[in-house]
């Protein structure tokens, strides 16, 4: 087990190096001269040279890369180009609101999807099953934007059940007042694809030989589903949740933009619009690192669900 974790961490090093290279390549090479972007219309050559010096882009590429690597490991990306706020501070203060929305979304959505999927799989092939699948396909086809625009209008403007948008300093107030509508919309949108996916996991398991054995033992169909099938289907479900877990931190930037939630997602969109490279670079690198760690944790958790996994 320890050897496994160490080996996995060891394998992360080349991946992390690759991520750093990719981001460096994108922002320091493809991204062009940031000074041009920042100086804007008043393209005074002197000013540009000044900005270039300030940003360090007049240095050779290898030196810029070295600076970038140092930034990554000292957690110091300097200041935002547009707001002059410290990048580390931006990251730390924006994560909270994002998690306030996304953690409940992930939990509720997963539980609901598993419960509904097992119910649909139980009546597989029936009219109910087929109707629900058609509804899911249709629901998945409507753009998230339409749901948000319509939901905000209906529940915020017309019915007035929730505030149209906003955020406060109090965590509790956020969770009870501002978060419910975005959470609800996110779940509503995320449920259909997950339900479809998890249903297919259950159906896959139902066709396995061991299910026939369970029936041959005389187990009632409900017990077969709730014990034998569910336990095995949890393995691909866990993989799937593991894949989505890192994006919890990115948050739904659409929700954050619409509901004025000061989270990471909105920050990224703003940064992209303003070409605020330090913020994007920092967010990308750290989220990549986080993703790798989350993936490792998920793999370790595998052992709990699947006895066949060995850490050799």
């Amino acid at each position: 087990m320890t050897a496994y974790v160490i080996r996995r961490m060891w394998q992360m090093i080349p991946t992390l190096a690759g991520v750093i290279l990719l981001i460096f390549f994108l922002f320091n090479w493809v991204g062009g001269d940031p000074a041009q972007v920042l100086a804007g219309k008043i393209s005074n050559p002197e000013q540009i040279a000044n900005i270039r010096k300030q940003l360090g882009v007049d240095q050779p590429y290898w030196y810029q890369l070295w600076v970038f690597v140092q930034q990554v490991f000292t957690f110091d990306f300097g200041r935002s180009w547009s707001t002059n706020e410290e990048v580390s501070r931006i990251l730390l203060t924006r994560v909270g609101p994002t998690l306030t929305i996304m953690v409940p979304v992930l939990l509720i959505e997963t539980v609901l999807a598993v419960v509904f999927a097992i119910m649909v799989a139980y009546v597989r092939g029936s009219l109910t099953d087929r109707t629900i699948m058609v509804i899911c396909t249709t629901a998945m086809s409507i753009s998230f934007l339409v749901y948000i625009i319509f939901g905000q209008w209906l529940f915020g403007f017309i019915l007035g059940w929730f505030p149209v948008q906003g955020w406060s300093e109090s965590y509790w107030r956020n969770l009870t007042t501002y978060a419910p509508l975005p959470i609800m919309l996110a779940i509503f949108v995320g449920l259909a694809p997950q339900l479809r996916l998890y249903r297919s996991f259950f159906l896959e398991e139902i066709n396995q030989d061991y299910v026939r054995t369970a029936r041959a033992k005389g187990l009632p169909e409900k017990k077969v589903m709730m014990k034998h099938v569910l336990r095995n289907a949890l393995i691909p479900i866990l993989t799937n949740v593991g894949i989505y877990l890192p994006s919890v931190f990115v948050g739904s930037f659409l929700l954050e933009v619409f509901f004025s939630i000061p989270g990471l997602g909105r920050e990224i969109v703003t940064a992209v619009n303003r070409s605020d490279f330090p913020v994007i670079k920092a967010v990308t690198v750290y989220l990549a690192m986080l993703t790798m760690i989350v993936n490792l944790l998920v793999d370790v958790m595998y052992k709990l669900v699947d006895p066949r996994v060995s850490f050799k």
Partner: protein, 350 residues
């Protein structure tokens, strides 16, 4: 079954139906699949017609009054029309000067000139339009058609490129294994360790806006899923006896990769292509909505939705509906067609 049979039956010189023909026949039998195929084909035809300028050529013309009512609700009052007209939307005063950080600043002048040209050809404005008008009085129906053209074109092209990248890399990794596989897996790990949406935004941040760049962005970030599946298919098929038999008869590596294995993995690739068209259409809509997608002088479902956001509050629902519905119909049909394709191509039937 033994040696008695030959020579007495004249050889039927026609090829039997291959797996593709059989799959096509199964699809023909699938009523839902055929309806979906018809819908998708209609959209594609519309896209071509719009590209050729047969329909919706004048989408950018301001034909009606601001927020012109749809023809079927001609009687309804249209307060905004007067208001906006009174405000004189020819006013060129910019509210805030963002020019120092605005990357588009150099192009303002060009657009202004272009806008001026359009303004000259102003004609008498209609009170109602078939499916209503937008703020500038443009026909929403024509916008939706033109928007479909852009969105579908982006989705299709990006999906084709992503599939190409994913297939070639996946085939190489799966077939060669070893060092090639290690290298490509490293590459794959880099791309997948950055959350997808963040990856797209990071690419969007450094590229200029434009139709071609959004295709490049979607293709460069979207190949990973296809790569993974194609690689798995290749690994599976490399272990199959027919590939070993091909090796035993001396078939070259290229022949084994592309003549023997590729057709057997093609159903997976086709289904993936189809799925990616859908997801790229969705992605394009969101990017364009955020202003990171198509340029401002073009229309897509995403830019329509961006405009529609504020229209709903003042009761002008038609642009939201037009964009949302035309997209939903296409995507539903496309997804269900994908399901039918998957069923029809299922090689389990041997």
């Amino acid at each position: 079954m033994s040696a008695v049979l030959p020579n007495n039956a004249p050889p039927a010189m026609q090829e039997s139906p291959g797996l593709w023909t059989l799959a096509w026949r199964r699809l023909l039998n699938d009523r839902v699949g055929m309806v979906c195929l018809a819908i998708v084909a209609t959209y594609l035809a519309m896209m071509l017609a719009s590209y050729a300028g047969i329909v919706a050529r004048d989408w950018n013309k301001e034909k009606g009054v601001s927020y012109a009512n749809p023809s079927f609700m001609a009687g309804a009052e249209n307060l905004e029309a007067r208001e906006v007209t009174n405000k004189d939307f020819g006013s060129k005063a910019k509210p805030v000067d963002l020019s120092d950080i605005d990357p588009l600043a150099p192009r303002y002048k060009e657009w202004e000139e272009r806008a001026a040209k359009i303004a000259v050809t102003e004609v008498k404005r209609a009170e109602t339009l078939p499916f209503g008008g937008d703020k500038w009085g443009r026909d929403v129906l024509e916008k939706a058609i033109k928007g479909s053209e852009v969105s579908i074109f982006v989705g299709l092209t990006a999906a084709l490129f992503a599939t190409l990248i994913g297939t070639v890399l996946g085939a190489m990794a799966g077939y060669w294994g070893g060092r090639v596989n290690d290298f490509l897996e490293w590459f794959y790990n880099i791309f997948t360790s950055i959350p997808y949406i963040l990856l797209i935004l990071a690419f969007a941040a450094v590229f200029k806006r434009g139709l071609d760049t959004i295709i490049v962005i979607l293709a460069l970030t979207g190949w990973t899923g296809i790569y993974r599946l194609v690689r798995a298919e290749y690994i599976k098929h490399c272990g199959r006896e027919y590939v070993k038999a091909a090796q035993a008869i001396g078939a070259s590596h290229l022949s084994r990769m592309f003549v023997h294995i590729l057709p057997n993995a093609s159903h997976v690739i086709l289904v993936q292509l189809s799925q990616h068209v859908v997801s790229f259409i969705k992605a394009e809509v969101i990017l364009s909505f955020l202003g990171l997608g198509v340029p401002v002088d073009m229309v897509s479902w995403g830019t329509m939705l961006a405009e529609a956001q504020n229209e709903l509050v003042i009761g002008k629902w038609w642009q939201l509906f037009a964009a949302g519905a035309s997209m939903a119909i296409l995507v539903t049909a496309f997804s269900m067609l994908t399901d039918s394709l998957r069923d029809a191509l299922d090689p389990k039937l041997k």
